[in-house]
Symmetry: C2
């Protein structure tokens, strides 16, 4: 019997093990975030176990809201454990600042929208506070909302 089987995983297994969908894994390969694995005779991808770790790293970073480009840099750093981590730290700090500015903007939006709905008398459109405020920007309290980097609401 052979001792220590290499244990290569098909893409479906990787998806299951990491919670990342199959098409997304292929997409990550396409954009160069994940190295192209060797293939079977039938052209299927066969991943070494290390790919699972890498994908988990990616997934966790995505869950924390890091952009793909930042993750690319973070992965590069993770591959060179002897270098300084100042860059990793600054990527994370920048991301944190980004998150905080989004929170600030959303909080301002939220106040404005809440005020609209609270003042609405629930009668006809003519007296609807929601419509009125939207039509006349001057009726805003907060007025100049923090623009930051156009939060891209969604």
């Amino acid at each position: 019997m052979s001792h220590s089987v290499p244990a290569l995983h098909p893409i479906g297994h990787l998806a299951e093990a990491t919670g990342i969908k199959v098409p997304t894994i292929r997409y990550y390969e396409q954009i160069g975030l994940l190295a192209p694995p060797p293939r079977s005779q039938g052209n299927r991808r066969l991943y070494p176990a290390a790919a699972i770790q890498r994908l988990r790293f990616i997934r966790h970073a995505r869950e924390l809201g890091f952009e793909i480009d930042a993750i690319r840099q973070l992965l590069d750093m993770a591959d060179q454990p002897d270098q300084s981590c100042a860059d990793a730290d600054s990527i994370a700090r920048r991301h944190l600042a980004d998150i905080e500015s989004k929170i600030a903007r959303l909080t301002a939006l939220g106040q404005e929208v809440r005020r609209m709905t609270e003042d609405c008398s629930q009668s006809s459109v003519r007296q609807c506070r929601v419509i009125q405020v939207l039509a006349d920007h001057g009726q805003c309290l907060g007025e100049h909302l923090p623009e930051s980097e156009k939060i891209n609401e969604k």
Copy 2:
């Protein structure tokens, strides 16, 4: 002399008056958010003054984070002032709930990312808290972040 000139505005004037860029105005027309205006002999768009109000409404709603589809509905309602405003109100309330869930999620992300950076000893990657936490999901505190509707970080 003619009393009451119709005063039609070229697209550039509209852009200036509303703060919405020229290509965006054309885009709004294309997706049916703004009615196609009459044209000059030379095929230029000539807008009636009412278009400025409409675009201001749109801009304000966009600034408050409403989606195009919601704005479409809100505009329809604004055009029928005698109907009930219950729908407008519920659109705004839904949007508010959306904003609040985003804030909740971003707050959770922010805590996690702040912890990473604060714990980072600023030395080598090997001991870098940022990289470590990303590599090992188990080191997260918050653990299961609110998923809500995949905030689409940007």
